[in-house]
């Protein structure tokens, strides 16, 4: 089957690649483009480890076709820090030990950032339900929820 040519933007940089029509965005990111920060935990959209932004939508890249990236803006974990400056969420995850093995962390960070962009002042319940699509087996979620809520508070403070 002929490959498809895709022109897209990933982390604010123009990118072109070839993909199979059935290839997932996750596979294209990881295998074709070498962006392995996005993880595969299940391949069925149940664990959220492969979360990326497709324009302003939070998606599981394992359930998104690579060809859907055509003309879109994709944001992955590799684009979250600005040079040496970590995003406040990344910094807060480190300070709160909100990761243990770290395999789910890129997905949680992408999802949490999407939440705070929509809702800068989420309640604990809102955080927990927003992140319910991201599985973590190490932390029991406690420190993740704390880190997200504290980041939100700090970002509100900085914006005020």
């Amino acid at each position: 089957m002929a490959k498809l040519h895709v022109s897209t933007t990933i982390n604010d940089e123009p990118v072109e690649f070839l993909c199979d029509p059935h290839q997932s965005l996750l596979d294209a990111l990881r295998t074709t483009l070498g962006l392995t920060g996005t993880k595969e935990g299940c391949g069925t959209g149940d664990c959220g480890a492969c979360s990326v932004m497709l324009d302003d939508r939070l998606v599981c890249s394992c359930l998104t076709l690579a060809a859907e990236a055509e003309g879109k803006q994709i944001a992955t974990i590799e684009g979250m820090a600005q040079g040496e400056r970590l995003h406040p969420l990344q910094q807060k995850f480190l300070e709160h030990a909100a990761l243990q093995c770290g395999i789910c962390t890129p997905g949680f960070l992408i999802a949490a950032k999407a939440l705070l962009e929509r809702n800068p002042d989420p309640s604990e319940t809102e955080v927990r339900f927003w992140l319910a699509g991201n599985l973590c087996r190490c932390t029991g979620y406690d420190k993740i929820v704390h880190a997200v809520m504290e980041t939100a508070a700090e970002m509100r403070g900085a914006a005020a």
Partner: protein
């Protein structure tokens, strides 16, 4: 901001601090390389063909059509794996290569649905998958048994007819007994005796990273393995055995590991990828799908247990008896030692008998899972204790406190306990506001305690001073949950330097001495010991170098706050020499500065916990929600409190999943029917409350920093704590797990 807390204990600057983990920036930016993130030039893909039957003799395998498919580079079957005859044990750690090799690749029989029978390496994953479909396997399908009761029936299909129990071929393939005193006499003294039977289902470790491996074999036969495991030395040993090559021909490199919880203490893909790489001459990458992880990697055992405990009117436990049948899966090796050994260990009971039976059936071979076996034993015992406390009209925590094991208590599994911290955990629970907090409608509260042995064993560390006076520490333990952070804290503390000047690396099998698995709650305990000794050796060298520069006796030099100072009668005679100043003059004073230590560490001593759990039961939907949870644990010493709390919270969450929602479901064909994260229900963020922790530090006298170990104990009490809370909420008790909505509803509607 890098440091959140002020030092709290003993004037330590770094031990006990919430420092930023050395590997943190890599892990929040996507830079950290996990096993599936690695690639090599010329790499091809491996895939496993798995048995479609739960039990079948393999008469023949024809791979000719698969081999003829363009793009296929290698095919392996059990013929390519070293044959370990069934009658001769070949122990590697707690595993046996007879079983390991047959678990990696079925030999005489396929023993469970999903059991590997052949593997392909091809230029693409799609071709490898297509080639798997072209392999023709001639199976003689055999009757099978999935559950313990079926496997124990007199006419049950026998999985391994060379294994006998009481003189006959049997699916009981192992037995263990712990005895103390005289149980019959003990029960005769009892005023109240309660005996109950319990069941638990197998549950999976649920690591988010599926197993993955990349193996390259050079033309001279030297192999390099990148894989996600809890022990690169275990990977090296097992691969060497199965491929029939010397361990020195294998370099096993530990990738970052995306969770293990015990499930990555054995190999699945590595030997297969090695054989495929050797045959094809190409680097071979293999990654399991989540479905493969569920079907063919180790959950922990399902179980059936019977526990009988007797106490006198004044609340003294006088006798206890437990029988624990654990599912091993298809090959021997269920954690009966954890179940029978840990079950009664928290209590001072004069008469104990604990029996464990290892039962095989046609499901995937179990692997270690956090405190293997212990939650199963504690579930039964801690539920019976709750009933006993009620019968005696005693508060359940006071009842436990009255019977708690202390220093000098003889445990049925062998040891006389040294100083331990169980009493402190119970007292902390009693004193905590959670225990007295009011409960709402349909809410209930439960408590439970738990024990894990903890573990020492072999560890190696190398501590090197860089030419510019910083420090690199290498250990042999994959960092699964922040252990680099505790290593950095310890080295920085001893050297008196900022922890950010300590770089912590995990060595591969070629660069660091043998180190046993990351597991058993041993890593911080054991690596702290070798890192401490190696760092102390470095400090001795640093003092010696300063002495040389000052031309005084090394004994007249002390090390303080990161610098050498003249001491004794020389005190004040010379300005101090910093680490950087000594490092800069290393060549002229004797050469590079560094030290390595390799030890078989001992003295881990037991860990204990007591948990309080509040649940709310939705009577319409049958959903049990944990609404508040507080865990108290004696960890000896918390080198890095955040990662200690994280272990406690994570273990509790897994225990809640075990109690409420996780289970393997089999269909009528003997296949796992819920092999996905959608259908195998692990707790998600919205299922749980905050999990409060109370770290208790009763230092282990046998450890330089007082460490006991943390990771296992937190999963031991929750099964019973949740069950006791549900009983308290509903006034009725469930004797099997999980207490999932369908089961709770069925019970409520039947009531």
């Amino acid at each position: 901001m890098n440091v959140i807390d002020k030092p709290e204990v003993l004037g330590n600057k770094w031990i006990g601090q919430r420092t930023i983990r050395p590997d943190g920036a890599d892990k929040v930016t996507g830079r950290a390389a996990y096993a599936a993130d690695t690639a090599m030039p010329g790499m091809i893909w491996g895939k496993v063909l798995r048995s479609p039957h739960p039990h079948a003799r393999i008469r023949a395998i024809d791979t000719s059509k698969a081999e003829a498919l363009p793009g296929v580079k290698a095919v392996v079957t059990s013929k390519d794996v070293v044959h370990f005859p069934l009658e001769t044990p070949v122990p590697v750690g707690i595993q046996d290569m007879r079983w390991m090799s047959r678990n990696v690749m079925a030999r005489e029989k396929a023993l469970f649905h999903g059991h590997p029978v052949a593997a392909i390496a091809a230029t693409s994953e799609a071709i490898a998958a297509e080639a798997c479909r072209l392999i023709e396997v001639d199976y003689e399908v055999l009757p099978w048994a999935i559950d313990i009761d079926d496997a124990l029936k007199p006419d049950a299909p026998i999985l391994h007819d060379f294994l006998t129990f009481e003189g006959k071929p049997s699916n009981i393939v192992g037995k263990l007994e712990h005895k103390l005193g005289d149980v019959a006499a003990g029960f005769a003294e009892a005023d109240v005796v309660i005996e109950r039977s319990f069941r638990t289902e197998p549950v999976h470790q649920g690591y988010i990273e599926p197993h993955a491996a990349l193996v390259s074999v050079a033309p001279d036969g030297k192999a390099t393995i990148w894989s996600s495991s809890q022990g690169q030395f275990m990977v090296r040993a097992m691969c060497a055995y199965m491929a029939g090559i010397p361990q020195s021909d294998i370099r096993a490199i530990p990738a970052e590991i995306g969770g293990g919880f015990g499930g990555k203490t054995i190999v699945y893909l590595e030997p297969i990828a090695l054989l495929l790489a050797r045959k094809s001459g190409r680097p071979v990458k293999m990654v399991m799908s989540r479905e493969e992880v569920f079907r063919a990697t180790g959950p922990t055992s399902g179980s059936k247990s019977t526990v009988k405990i007797g106490a006198t009117k004044d609340g003294r436990i006088v006798a206890a008896q437990g029988t624990f049948h654990l599912q091993a899966g298809a090959l021997p090796g269920s954690p009966i030692r954890g179940a029978a050994g840990c079950a009664f260990a928290p209590y001072d009971i004069p008469n104990v008998q604990a029996l464990g039976f290892d039962v095989v059936s046609n499901r995937s071979k179990v692997a270690a899972y956090r405190a293997p076996g212990a939650p199963i034993g504690a579930y039964a015992v801690e539920c019976v204790l709750d009933e006993l406390a009620a019968a005696l009209k005693m508060d359940p925590l006071e009842f436990r406190l009255k019977n708690a094991a202390r220093e000098g208590t003889k445990a049925a599994h062998g040891p006389v306990f040294p100083r331990i911290g169980l009493v402190e955990t119970i007292e902390a629970a009693l004193a905590h506001p959670h225990y007295k907090a009011p409960l709402g409608k349909h809410q209930g509260r439960g408590v439970a305690s738990g024990f894990w042995f903890n573990a020492g064993g072999e560890s190696s560390a190398q501590v090197n001073v860089t030419e510019d006076g910083n420090v690199v520490v290498t250990t042999g333990h994959p960092d699964i949950g922040g252990s680099r952070a505790s290593t950095a804290n310890i080295a920085a503390e001893l050297l008196g330097i900022d922890y950010r000047r300590v770089s912590v690396l995990i060595g591969d099998t070629a660069t660091i001495g043998y180190s046993n698995l990351t597991g058993g709650s041993r890593v911080t305990f054991a690596s702290a010991m070798v890192v401490t000794q190696a760092t102390e050796k470095v400090i001795t060298t640093l003092r010696g170098r300063a002495a040389k520069i000052w031309k005084i006796d090394p004994d007249a030099v002390k090390w303080e706050n990161g610098e050498a100072l003249p001491a004794g009668e020389n005190a004040g005679k010379f300005p101090g020499l910093s680490l950087a100043e000594i490092a800069a003059r290393a060549t002229e004073t004797g050469g590079p500065i560094g030290a390595g230590i390799q030890l078989n560490t001992t003295g881990a001593e037991g860990g204990f916990a007591t948990h309080i759990c509040d649940v709310e039961v939705d009577l319409d939907l049958g959903i049990v929600r944990v609404v508040r949870y507080t865990a108290f644990q004696d960890v000896g010493r918390a080198i890095h409190p955040s990662y200690v709390e994280g272990q406690m919270q994570g273990g509790v969450a897994q225990g809640i999943g075990w109690a409420l929602s996780e289970e393997y479901i089999y269909d009528k064909q003997g296949r796992v029917d819920n092999a996905s994260f959608l259908d195998y229900r692990m707790p998600v963020c919205s299922d749980l409350p905050m999990i409060d922790t109370g770290i208790i530090e009763v230092p282990n006298p046998k450890h330089p920093q007082g460490v006991r170990g943390v990771g296992e104990v937190p999963i031991v009490p929750p099964l019973a704590a949740v069950s006791n809370a549900v009983h308290n909420a509903l006034g009725r008790r469930f004797y099997s797990l999980p207490m999932s909505p369908p089961r709770v509803l069925a019970a409520l509607e039947g009531a």
